[in-house]
């Protein structure tokens, strides 16, 4: 990075270093050929869209050149922050990602602990393989499964009726209040197995002599899990928790979009769907971009804070 900075105009102090830099760069034509096209790609597809944020300060009309739009200053943001719907979707986003975060962590950690206690290696491996399955199927298929299971004649209602827990079938996805719970359970079903991978890897690095020592001291299974395995996972848990806090505005898009409907919209619509609705479907590009920009900027701050926290805790995450 320092050498690269030497390219900047004005830093003429060491011409020889600059010359050497370009000379060795010239010898790396093939490496440049292998990487610079992708540098161009990342700039076009990831950095150029940032410039599209100017739309948030415009009354953007389709079909008109991007330089030829009417500037409106902060009007879009003013409108956004006065919009009742915006606070509703913000609430939904935060609640759903908090549920995912807490449930996702707890279930994955518990499952990893329990898997670790299985002694029949083939049984353990089979359970693991099966538990990864839902992670690989699409959200479309998952939503299809959830919708089928929760339909009035679906398995969930059938079972509840069988055990006399309800008198008549309930249209679960038609009641807004149930949506967060349904989404939380669906997310667990889909990802709990997958999320154990990293914890199980952390467990394998625990020194086995600790278990032997604990056993000699007469510690029970549960005590060993609590006092040895769980503390052994702690560094990974802390890092992942902090990193996930940085993604608190990312509550997901596909499950909410696919399972959401007119009856649960007050609970299912999140920021991403809000952006899609206003932007692509209602052609209010300015407002949608403003909402998207709000999300990115807040997420960016969260992520930077989270990363610095993680770094301070001794685990280098990036670079």
């Amino acid at each position: 990075m320092e050498k690269h900075a030497a390219q900047l105009p004005g830093s003429t102090s060491d011409d020889s270093r600059l010359g050497a830099f370009f000379k060795s760069l010239a010898n790396q034509k093939m490496l440049m050929l292998m990487s610079l096209p992708f540098l161009a790609w990342v700039i076009v597809f990831k950095y150029v869209p940032l410039w599209g944020w100017t739309i948030a300060f415009q009354k953007y009309r389709l079909g008109r050149d991007i330089f030829d739009q009417a500037w409106t200053g902060l009007d879009n943001f003013k409108f956004l922050f006065q919009e009742q719907q915006f606070y509703l979707v913000l609430r939904n986003t935060l609640v759903m990602s908090s549920i995912n975060l807490v449930l996702g962590f707890v279930t994955a950690i518990v499952l990893a602990l329990l898997l670790n206690e299985l002694r029949r290696i083939y049984f353990k491996r089979t359970v693991q393989t099966i538990s990864y399955l839902p992670h690989f199927i699409s959200w479309v298929v998952a939503a299809n499964i959830v919708q089928t299971a929760l339909a009035p004649e679906g398995i969930f209602n059938v079972l509840l009726l069988q055990f006399n827990m309800i008198d008549k079938p309930i249209l679960w996805l038609g009641v807004g209040e149930y949506f967060w719970g349904i989404l939380g359970v669906t997310e667990i079903w889909k990802n709990v197995g997958w999320n154990t991978i990293i914890y199980l890897a952390a467990i394998t690095s625990i020194d086995p002599t600790q278990y032997e020592a604990a056993q000699i001291d007469g510690a029970s299974r549960l005590q060993r899990m609590w006092h040895i395995t769980l503390p052994g996972m702690k560094p990974v848990i802390v890092i992942l928790l902090i990193m996930n806090l940085g993604h608190i505005l990312e509550s997901g898009f596909e499950p909410q979009y696919l399972l959401g409907n007119g009856m649960n919209v007050e609970y299912s619509e999140n920021l991403d769907i809000f952006v899609l609705k206003y932007g692509i479907q209602m052609n209010n590009y300015g407002l949608a971009t403003a909402a998207g920009m709000f999300k990115t900027v807040v997420s960016f701050i969260f992520l930077i804070v989270a990363n610095n926290l993680a770094k301070r805790l001794g685990e280098s995450r990036l670079y």
Binding site: L39, F45, T126, F300
Partner: protein, 302 residues
């Protein structure tokens, strides 16, 4: 070790724990697999018979008519072809490009190594968002084209990190000796590095292939007006999103040939769900060793 194991079993509490644990695991396996088994049973059961209900684990009246019907539907047939095409092309292009870039930025002598790496890693922190992204694709003239499935997703930063970490873990001597023998960077990459990083390539291939096969949102956003670029997941999504309203897409499929008797929306949904998930179910167990390793590398470093 065997001795300590039998010692563990001496405690009653431990035994109860074991029994509960195994029961719980079996419960977990059932709730994970049941939906697929149920869809499988419905898809192979006679559609009219399914209306009577009570199909849970196994078809009552076997038939492959549902599959014949769904796959003879030109929309679905085309969509399956496009899904397969984007999965194959997308995976090959993306994995090769990602590996090539990873190789370049793993070379310690490469002067732009840090600059390129940071430019990529930084994109993990932000995105332009939906609207600017959509307008970019539009400005680039990529709406209504097959390439919109391939080009915007060529490099995934996570995948890049996985492959780079793997290359950096190779013994440096191998590349040194290749250089001594006069091999250029491209030769070293193709002949020496690629064969050695097959495990990482397998991991990333799986991730990319799953992403490609499962995608529907880019179809919806960029290509929804082009029927011949639709994918299987998008067709299934259309059935799903309309199934709450009166005239669902599944109904339309069922009515398309005026043979409501032969197939029903339920059996079409089940059949398409199986078609959309079977390729993945067939592949991922065999790559388990690789993707577990890849997740650990990427999860720690990424």
């Amino acid at each position: 070790m065997l001795k300590t194991k039998s010692a563990q079993y001496s405690s009653v509490g431990d035994r109860i724990f074991d029994v509960c644990n195994y029961c719980f695991m079996i419960f977990l396996v059932i709730i994970t697999l049941y939906p697929f088994i149920n869809m499988f049973a419905l898809s192979f059961n006679d559609a009219n018979d399914s209306i009577r209900g009570d199909i849970y684990f196994w078809p009552r009246e076997w038939t492959i008519r549902n599959y014949e019907y769904v796959l003879s539907e030109s929309n679905v047939f085309y969509a399956t072809f496009i899904s397969a095409a984007r999965t194959i092309v997308g995976t090959i292009v993306s994995v090769f490009c990602t590996a090539m870039l990873a190789f370049a930025i793993s070379r310690p002598e490469y002067k732009l190594k840090k600059f390129v790496s940071i430019t990529f890693i930084f994109t993990m922190y932000f995105s332009g968002g939906l609207i600017p992204g959509y307008l970019l694709i539009k400005e680039l003239g990529m709406l209504n084209s097959f390439w919109v499935y391939i080009i915007p997703g060529i490099i995934g930063v996570f995948n890049l990190i996985v492959i780079r970490s793997f290359i950096e873990g190779l013994p440096e001597g191998i590349m040194e000796s290749a250089k001594m023998d006069g091999a250029g960077d491209l030769t070293t990459f193709v002949r020496i590095v690629l064969p050695l990083i097959v495990p990482a390539l397998a991991t990333v291939s799986l991730f990319v292939a799953v992403y490609q096969w499962n995608s529907w949102f880019d179809v919806f956003l960029y290509n929804s007006s082009r029927h011949n670029l639709s994918t299987l997941q998008y067709e299934l999504m259309k059935i799903l999103s309309t199934s709450n309203t009166g005239a669902s897409a599944a109904d339309q499929y069922a009515n398309a040939q005026g043979n409501v008797q032969m197939v029903t929306p339920t059996s079409i949904r089940a059949t398409m769900t199986i078609v959309a998930s079977v390729p993945i179910i067939m592949v991922y167990p065999f790559l388990q060793k690789y993707f577990v390793q890849g997740m650990v590398v990427g999860g720690v470093k990424g």
